[in-house]
Amino acid sequence: MMSSRTRFWCAGLLSAGVVAVVTFMGAPAQAATYVPVSGAGSTWSQVALDQWRRNVVQYGIKINYAGTGSSDGRNQFRNGTVDFGVSEIPYGLKDSGVVDAPPSRGYAYMPIVAGGTSFMYNLVIGGKRVTNLRLSGVNIAKIFTGSIKTWNDKAIAADNPLLRLPSTKIVPVVRSDGSGTTAQFSTYLATKFPSLWNAYCAKAGRSTPCGVTSNYPVVPGAGFVAQSGSLGVSGYVSQSANVGTITYVEYAYALNTGFPVVKVLNRAGYYVEPTAYAVAVGLQGATVNTNSKSPAYLTQQLGGVYDNPDKRTYPLSSYSYMIIPTRQEFGFSSDKGYTLGAFAYYFLCQGQQQADVLGYSPLPINLVKAGLEQVRRIPGVDVQSINIAKCNNPTFSASGKNLLAQLAPAPPACDKQGATQCTTGTGGQRRTSTAVSNGTPSQGGSSAAGGQADATSTTTGTVGTSSGASSGGGTGASLGNEVQATSQLVPPSNGWTTQRSAALIAVVMLLALIVVPPLVARILQAQGSAKANPR
């Protein structure tokens, strides 16, 4: 009698599973002309790319992207295993004496987004998280080449007059994979502090001069930690036990993990956080290759950014690039070109509105225009004539100047190099200020308990889709208009959508996957034994 009941059960579960599968497959049956396109590369710009990918799903565009590091992205594009690559640095650079050869397939660079390579850290004074750390470029170089070893080093204290820094060991966390972030950071080190960088490289067994490298050299036993991917390094630093760690990673990752970033000293003597404004200002010093005949068309030279005399500059600002195919080869069909083109039009125009909220900075008008020209070179693209005034890009103005850079607020006086220091927080902790701990130790001690509660209650990210998230701290006014535009693009999040039902079905199926096999096995066994010895 048991068997009939169990059969009913099995049938019920099976049919539920079938219904779920049908629901899944039935959903995206629109826009037949779009075909899936796949890409790989940078994790620096992955947060923005992932958001854009999700946004275009509603149009039926499916973009697959694997954040495996810029070096891997360039290699995979060269070998023809992906349709597009994303990288911070172009082909043709010499790394450890080996030239990264350009691919034989047709390719072009297209800037996708700007951003700041930030220094995310995990540091605690008296049980309370430090959120307002400031460092000069030379101190950053010394930390990441192992010559400053503890947080209470005099050089760091000079940058932070109001912080009584602990004698905790500094643990620099670097990337273990071939990374564009490492390439950007090592370009900075090799340009600005060649002697420190070369000495360090030599210690790590590299041939000098070291120059730009995608693989961060690590000296064994120096107390460095290497992790793979931006998620790996930011995940390591954000583990609450890992006090004393510091890493280089795109600003978005600090926002997502709710951790502060270092304010870096610029040429004008101000310590600046890599906000969308500061990056936009900094990149006005960048030299972009404007020779459209050159294979390196649109690539960047950042020397002018490091030394940009504008006091609002973040010195480690840079662009990220998509490497797009320009010929139909290696399986890149015109259908794929059609899809990739539509995606590119989306992120060059509307997608830029979200850059600030995500932790990046929108592209200026000249690069958007040039990027739109590059899209035409994708085979199979449906050329659109986009009225870029309608893109709502916060950098665009009627005069053609970079509006974002014009509007960028001047850094507060307390962020000037000197005897004082702002107490406001940065990055993912911008709403948590840090108490003055130097000179008034009692205050630091008494605020410890309350401070911790404060920190936990305000860690919620500013990255969501809500409006006005970018205000506060040293940032100044929020970019109101672009946030409003965002809400039109993203489907409303309240109300029961198909996506939510799909998620619910997925959860139910996962539970069924865990529960059903043992259940069925037991039932079958019970049946088998009942047949073997009938009572």
């Binding site: 290699n75 067994g205 590299r206 992790q227 043992p518």
Partner: protein, 339 residues
């Protein structure tokens, strides 16, 4: 006390096998041919893999020669690379994994086959099989984002009290320093990577061992109990000796998997390319993780160097499996275990 248990006389060996006179029909012939071919194909594929690895590795091996075996570095583009550190790192991670997995697997297998109530047994078996089916990236992410933060306290305790043992020492770690976090000293170590890999290989080892334990002869079990043995006594005198082959087989199977485990190790460790004998200290390395980490961004010569590392891993795994199968084949339960 094991001598009190009468051992069943091995009759089958004294009597010579009866000769089969039935003529083999076409079905038998086809069956024999098919099985023989598939056996040969497996061998052929294995040797082709070896040849391919050796061929691709030859460029790097020719440059580096014998120093490939002794160099502790991995900078192929500077022509400074070798297997010494990463091979030892691989073995250390695998040993930690086995040290975790074997006691856990023996205990689980014994519980399921001997102690678990009948109703629970099948559920437990399915659960263990399900654990074996969890992808290694899931274990890796769990290890990186959850376990690592919570297990450094254990590492701290071990090194505080047993740090006088050379391999448990952690350089730069002072227990007296309350400010010192685990970062840079106790995280991303051989120990943590080995721990997670150990959890991964446990289910595989468990299912091999459980299968063998459950086949311990009922007659001998009943004999032991009839002679007054307790349940544990019966297990010690009948099940464990019978299942020795399965225990060793399961261990070796787990070791083989632990040696080749890639993504979990890659996620957790902080790669260093010198010999790191301190298993609790930050910095570890393994061949598979090095290949996974360096392959995407490698130059042509760097790829060849990685193939050379892969060749070494291939040979080591082959040797481990040969030893395992020969041990298992010699033991009494060897014929029935599938290791």
């Amino acid at each position: 006390m094991t001598t009190t248990i009468p051992v069943r006389p091995e009759q089958s060996e004294s009597v010579s096998a009866r000769v089969l006179t039935h003529p083999s029909g076409p079905t038998d012939k086809i069956y024999a041919a098919v099985t023989r071919t598939s056996g040969l194909i497996v061998l052929l594929i294995m040797s082709l893999v070896g040849v391919f690895l050796a061929y691709r590795a030859s460029q790097a091996l020719r440059v580096q020669g014998l120093s490939f075996l002794t160099t502790q570095a991995w900078e192929p583009d500077s022509r400074n690379f070798g297997i010494a550190a990463i091979l030892i790192g691989t073995i250390l991670i695998a040993l930690v994994a086995i040290a975790v997995a074997v006691p856990l697997a023996v205990g689980t297998a014994l519980y399921i086959s001997e102690y678990a109530p009948r109703r629970l047994k099948q559920t437990l078996i399915s659960l263990v099989d399900l654990m074996a089916a969890v992808p290694s990236i899931v274990y890796g992410l769990w290890g990186l984002f959850f376990l690592q933060g919570n297990v450094t306290g254990v590492a701290r305790w071990i090194t505080s009290y047993f740090g006088w043992l050379p391999f448990l020492r952690v350089d730069g770690f002072k227990n007296s320093d309350p400010l010192a976090g685990p970062a840079g000293t106790l995280t991303s170590s051989t120990f943590i990577a080995g721990l997670v890999v150990g959890f991964m290989v446990t289910p595989i080892a468990t299912s091999v061992m459980r299968e063998v334990f459950s086949q311990a002869p009922v007659g001998e079990r009943e004999g032991a109990l009839a002679l007054g043995a307790t349940k544990w006594g019966m297990i010690r005198s009948v099940v464990l000796p019978f299942g020795k082959g399965g225990i060793i087989g399961g261990t070796m199977l787990g070791l083989g998997r632990a040696l080749g485990e890639t993504i979990t190790v890659y996620l957790i460790i902080s790669p260093v390319f010198t010999i790191q004998p301190h298993i609790l200290q930050t910095g570890a390395t393994s061949i598979a993780a090095t290949i996974a980490g360096k392959f995407g961004a490698a130059s042509a010569f760097g790829t060849s160097a990685l193939f050379a590392a892969g060749l070494v891993l291939f040979l080591v795994t082959l040797v481990v499996n040969f030893i395992a199968s020969s041990i298992v084949a010699k033991s009494r339960s060897g014929a029935v275990s599938d290791a």
